[in-house]
Structure formats: structure tokens, C-alpha cells
């Protein structure tokens, strides 16, 4: 015997309509059922035309981010029982163009991500014979928090600055830049600085702080951005008082 809960799900069918509407479905739920399980029930049993993204069901892949009752959430880690007696309103993530129903286009993020070179940049690779790049647990701890980002886009959906000005490079990109900047094996921080210190980089952020609040992996992008502002300010002071080659 299980309880039932109403799901109000945003539908956008571009071939039929020019605005999103909400369809309502009633699903049974048990205490271990996530919002994503509710969507899967709708898709499997009630309405096969519903479109949404998901994959791992365990907070790793970052595909199932949606707006649940006004808050950006990973639907696999958000439980129906917490919204009882309902209804639960499920909409696509804010601040992104909607392709269909609950599916958004994150191409803008992907294009921005590449700009900050999210990989370990080396001026010259050392020969294989010299062995691996070794790292102490303390050195790992420096950047580990930022490496937990799963690109789920909840931080972009929560950021009003990104919503108002889509040119802003955004929280996750900056946190991921810090992930590599703080890695002692990396030598690319100067290249990243030139991208991040632009107007639409770190200085676009006015520290609303909601990116950190909604992050399901405790990455703290807001902290990363403020720390980076400090670094950028110190660097610019240094170059002002002690220009290179002087």
C-alpha cells in the first residue's frame, strides 16, 4: 500500500505550442522514491511523450537537474516524501533555453567551459621515464572540493546574474578553473586569468551566494569566485607596482 502524490510537470512541445504549460499526473510513492522515480513512473505508465534527461540515479552524472517547487534540484537526490502531500511542481532549469518539456540546452556552458582550459596545462611534459607527477594529500586537498563539480547546472539556474546577463561566464566554470589553478601540477593559471579577469568573468559576480546554497556536491562556487577575485586583485597590484621587465 503506498501513498499518492500529484506531479505538475512543465510541458513544452515546440511543434504544437509557443509557451510552456503544466500537465498534472498522480503517481504512487514510497519513502525511498525520488522525484526522478516519479518522472520515470509517468514516462513508463502514464505518458510516454514526456521528455527529460537522466542517467545514473545517484548524484554522479549531473543530468537530472530540474526546478522542483521553485528550487534547482538534482531530481535523483530529492525525495517525493519531502513534498507530501504535494503537489510537486517540476519545471526545466531556469536561465537556459528549453528544447522540450524538461530538457534544456547547456551549449552556452560547454562553450564557456572550454575557454578556461579545464585540464592540466604544462609548459612542457616531462619524459615518461621520469615517472608520474606526484602529489601529497595536502596538495590534493587544495583543489579537491572544486573537483567534485558534476556540471549539473544547478548553480547557473540559481544565479540571477547569469539569468539577467547570459554573457557572465558563470559559477561552475570559475569553480572548475580554480580546480586546475590550485592543482600544483598545473601551469595554466596565467592563461585562465586572462579569460576570468575579463568583464564577464569573475567581476560579473556580485556574490548573491545562491550557487553555493544549491550545489549538491558542496563545491562552493561563490567561495571560489571571491577567492579568485582576491588573487586577481593581488596580481594586478603586483603588476602595477612591479611591472615585468622593470
Amino acid at each position: 500500500m503506498s501513498n499518492r502524490i500529484r506531479l505538475q510537470i512543465a510541458r513544452y512541445r515546440p511543434e504544437q505550442e509557443s509557451e510552456a504549460t503544466f500537465d498534472e499526473y498522480e503517481v504512487p510513492y514510497t519513502k525511498e522514491m525520488a522525484v526522478l522515480d516519479g518522472l520515470n513512473f509517468v514516462k513508463d505508465r502514464l505518458d510516454g511523450t514526456l521528455a527529460y534527461r537522466w542517467s545514473c540515479r545517484m548524484g554522479i552524472c549531473g543530468s537530472c537537474g530540474m526546478d522542483v517547487n521553485g528550487e534547482p534540484k538534482l531530481t535523483c537526490a530529492t525525495f517525493l516524501t519531502d513534498y507530501a502531500p504535494g503537489p510537486v511542481r517540476i519545471a526545466p532549469l531556469r536561465n537556459f533555453p528549453v528544447i522540450r518539456d524538461l530538457i534544456v540546452d547547456i551549449g552556452d556552458f560547454m562553450r564557456k567551459l572550454v575557454k578556461i582550459k579545464p585540464w592540466i596545462v604544462r609548459a612542457a611534459e616531462k619524459p615518461l621515464a621520469e615517472g608520474e607527477y606526484r602529489q601529497t594529500p595536502e596538495e590534493l586537498e587544495e583543489y579537491k572540493q572544486f573537483s567534485m563539480c558534476i556540471n549539473c547546472m544547478l548553480c547557473y539556474a540559481a544565479c540571477p546574474i547569469y539569468g539577467l546577463d547570459p554573457k557572465f561566464i558563470g559559477p561552475a566554470v570559475i569553480a572548475l578553473a580554480q580546480r586546475y589553478n590550485l592543482d600544483n601540477r598545473d601551469e595554466g593559471s596565467a592563461e585562465r586569468m586572462s579569460v576570468l579577469s575579463e568583464h564577464d568573468g569573475i567581476w560579473g559576480c556580485t556574490f548573491v551566494g545562491e550557487c553555493t546554497t544549491v550545489c549538491p556536491k558542496h563545491v562552493d562556487p561563490a567561495g571560489a569566485i571571491q577567492r579568485y577575485k582576491l588573487t586577481a586583485a593581488v596580481e594586478s597590484m603586483k603588476s602595477f607596482f612591479a611591472p615585468r621587465g622593470a
Partner: protein, 139 residues
């Protein structure tokens, strides 16, 4: 049915681009707190101007100072300064709350806990207030 709008992208269906509401800052308490924190800088600015006016009056002599005091006692200046004080306190508290996120302090290999950074700010506030108190009143 076939409404061509600026959202049409070749080779893609029409994408829906919902607009951000003008009143987005009323949608969440956190957004409202943010707007109040940012807006409070106007009041911080006013306090600075007020201090400069006070300094100017003091430098001009006892008469100007008396005039300044009388002006400060008028209801609207008093009311403005009460509101300003509230906003400046709000600004300081929210600023301090944000500080541990931006300032990561290390002692050797360990990171100083964010709470200690926060308490350090409050300790600094108390210390500076005590010095100002001592200089002004000598007690």
C-alpha cells in the same frame, strides 16, 4: 501555428527562452537579502557624507558645530540616521558572514576554520569600536 520568432534556430526546434521577471529579487528570501545588502551601500555612503559634514563643522568652529548639532536633531535627519544605522549594521553583518568564504587562512598545513575567520572579524570590530570609544570619551 508557424510563428517565426527570434527563438527559431535553424536545424533545431524552436527553443523556449523564458524571460527573467523584473521582480526576480522578490522570488526568494535569499535574493531579497542580496538586494538589501547591495542597496545598503547607499546608506553606508550617506554615513560617510554625514561624517565629513561633521568634520567640516568641527573645523569651522563652535558656532558651526552648534548649527550642525541643531540640524542633526531635526526629525527627518534623525529618522534618516536611524534607518541608516539599521542598514549599516545589516551591511556589516552580511559582509562578515560572507568573509570566511572569500578568505582562506592557513596556519602551516591546516586551514583555519571558517568560523574562526568570522569571529576574527567580529573581534576586529569590537577592538576598533573600543579604540574609537577611548579616543572620543577617554574612558
Amino acid at each position: 501555428m508557424e510563428q517565426t520568432t527570434d527563438v527559431y534556430t535553424p536545424y533545431h526546434p524552436r527553443w523556449l527562452r523564458p524571460r527573467v521577471s523584473t521582480y526576480w529579487w522578490l522570488q526568494k528570501p535569499a535574493y531579497l537579502r542580496f538586494i538589501l545588502r547591495e542597496g545598503s551601500c547607499m546608506f553606508v555612503g550617506w554615513f560617510t557624507v554625514y561624517l565629513l559634514l561633521l568634520l567640516d563643522a568641527v573645523l569651522e568652529g563652535p558656532l558651526a558645530y552648534e548649527v550642525f548639532l541643531a540640524w542633526s536633531g531635526t526629525p527627518w535627519v534623525l529618522a534618516l540616521n536611524v534607518v541608516t544605522l539599521a542598514f549599516v549594521v545589516f551591511h556589516a553583518i552580511t559582509f562578515f558572514q560572507a568573509a570566511p568564504q572569500a578568505i582562506v587562512v592557513r596556519l602551516g598545513r591546516t586551514r583555519v576554520p571558517p568560523r574562526a575567520v568570522l569571529l576574527g572579524h567580529y573581534a576586529g570590530w569590537v577592538a576598533v569600536s573600543a579604540i574609537v570609544w577611548f579616543v572620543l570619551l577617554g574612558v
